[in-house]
């Protein structure tokens, strides 16, 4: 199910100079802001929870997920170089699964790790806030990577759709329409984070059971469907 060569090609494409800069900029910004906030306001649990919830989990994780998930396959389909993967005796779901693993790993490294560092900077992991949001970021990384990998497989405008989902649906609708929150990867991962802290600083609109089921179902379905789409991907000529 996992092909090391596909993984190597995907890593190198994802971590190419320009994309690595974008991937690195957001985490760096989060850490810099955390340092400044800590220096100005001192260690405060509520501030830490607000910053990690509002900036790290609601904005940074989905954005990194969009870049890593769509970037793991979209550009190859766009420029046609995916033909070198497709013209090999490798099962299409293997290609998708491998790319998913890479996208998850990249999303985790560039979103969960900086969340943990930022959490420790902000309040030294008081009330387990840093660990809770890191767990949320890790869990969300998996589902975001699967969702955006699927988007990269089905649409040439995957980045735009991904950004719309991440910024408009998750951030805007999520705060205005209560129902939208139930269908939000962020809320599902918060349910897991809530379980870690146990307190009221991290809360979710979704129960842990619902969240877990939805996280698993969405991840599995998105990955399966991406594999199916790749099986019947057509490469039209340039005529």
């Amino acid at each position: 199910m996992y092909d090391p060569t596909v993984a190597r090609l995907t890593y190198r494409a994802l971590l190419g100079r320009r994309r690595a800069l974008i991937l690195g900029a957001l985490p760096l910004l989060l850490i810099v802001i955390s340092v400044v906030v800590r220096a100005l306001a001192g260690a405060d649990d509520q501030t830490a929870a607000d910053l990690l919830g509002g900036l790290a989990l609601a904005t940074m994780v989905p954005l990194i997920g969009v870049i890593a998930g769509t970037g793991a396959i979209g550009p190859e389909i766009d420029d046609g170089s995916v033909v070198y993967l497709l013209s090999k005796p490798i099962k299409r779901p293997t290609i998708i699964f491998t790319k998913l693993i890479v996208a998850i790993a990249v999303t985790m490294v560039f979103s969960a790790l900086p969340t943990l560092i930022a959490g420790f900077v902000l309040n030294g992991n008081g009330q387990q806030i840093a660990v809770a949001y890191t767990v949320a970021a890790l869990v969300a990384s998996i589902t975001y990577a699967a969702l955006f990998l699927l988007l990269g497989t089905v649409s040439r405008h995957a980045v735009v759709f991904g950004l719309v989902y991440a910024l408009v649906w998750e951030a805007l609708f999520g705060s205005l329409v209560p129902g939208a929150r139930t269908l939000s990867v962020q809320q599902w991962s918060l349910a897991v984070a809530h379980k870690v802290t146990g307190g009221d600083l991290v809360t979710s609109d979704v129960s842990l059971t619902t969240a877990t089921v939805l996280l698993v179902v969405v991840t599995v379905l998105a990955t399966w469907y991406a594999g199916q789409k790749l099986r019947s991907l057509t490469l039209a000529g340039e005529e």
Binding site: R12, G16, S87, P89, S232, G237, E239
Partner: protein, 303 residues
Amino acid sequence: MTTLSIDHVSRWFGNVVAVNDITMTIGPGVTGLLGPNGAGKSTLINMMGGFLAPSTGTVTLDGQQVWRNEAIYKHIGIVPEREAMYDFLTGREFVVANAELHGLGAKAAQRALATVEMEYAQDRKIQTYSKGMRQRVKMASALVHDPSLLLLDEPFNGMDPRQRMQLMDLLRRMGDEGRTVLFSSHILEEVEQLAWHIEVVVAGRHAASGDFRKIRRLMTDRPHRYLVRSSDDRALAAALIADPSTSGIEVDVTEGALRIQAVDFGRFTALLPKVARDHGIRLLTVSPSDESLESVFSYLVAA
């Protein structure tokens, strides 16, 4: 012995029919898929390579379906027309990756790089390669698993004459070894130099199939039209029309030229300079007015 069979294959995109009910069999040796730009060659090659489903009909390789059959790629090597190919890798890394994807190692990659004579630049990034070098590395990636069928979409596009000759030698060798090699081109001369069997596609239809020389004769025996300017058009016209190789001459007053229709291509091309010299006429312009491939093809289709 590998045989690719295309059986009543059509492909349409919305209302546009790109390939219209084509049936052909491609066997060992080099076959040229010839047709003007936009004739449906790439669509056909994409269907042969399993990257596009036929709307109707089937494409099979030795009896096995090509579409949605990953295992078939053990036998197929593909050289796509598109340029993109993991430019951030070196040539060697690219070919090694292709070998690994076939379950092979660096040895197979090295052999393929040697076959296309790219060892000297194998450690350079692909983004620094010229068009010809890219083409050869693509070729190496297609040859790495020693396929019995090689599909090449417009492989000579943008190559300089030397590179073109090298690639032609390589493909000829592959054909002589008994592989089934199919390449597409819209340039008659390329096909002429390389393929002994051609399939001609015009406007999505299969226009001709068979031995190149026979089809070439059909093409050259058709009436040829020339536009000729000289120091004395009327004297030249009078001298040319006396010969049976010329079937008609029009004096185009506005263009200040002769429009000549020749029925015997070989004889006319020998006659024209001789007549001009004998009559002391200077030839200023001699240009074939319908040499575009499209006109050759439309003649073929009508024939």
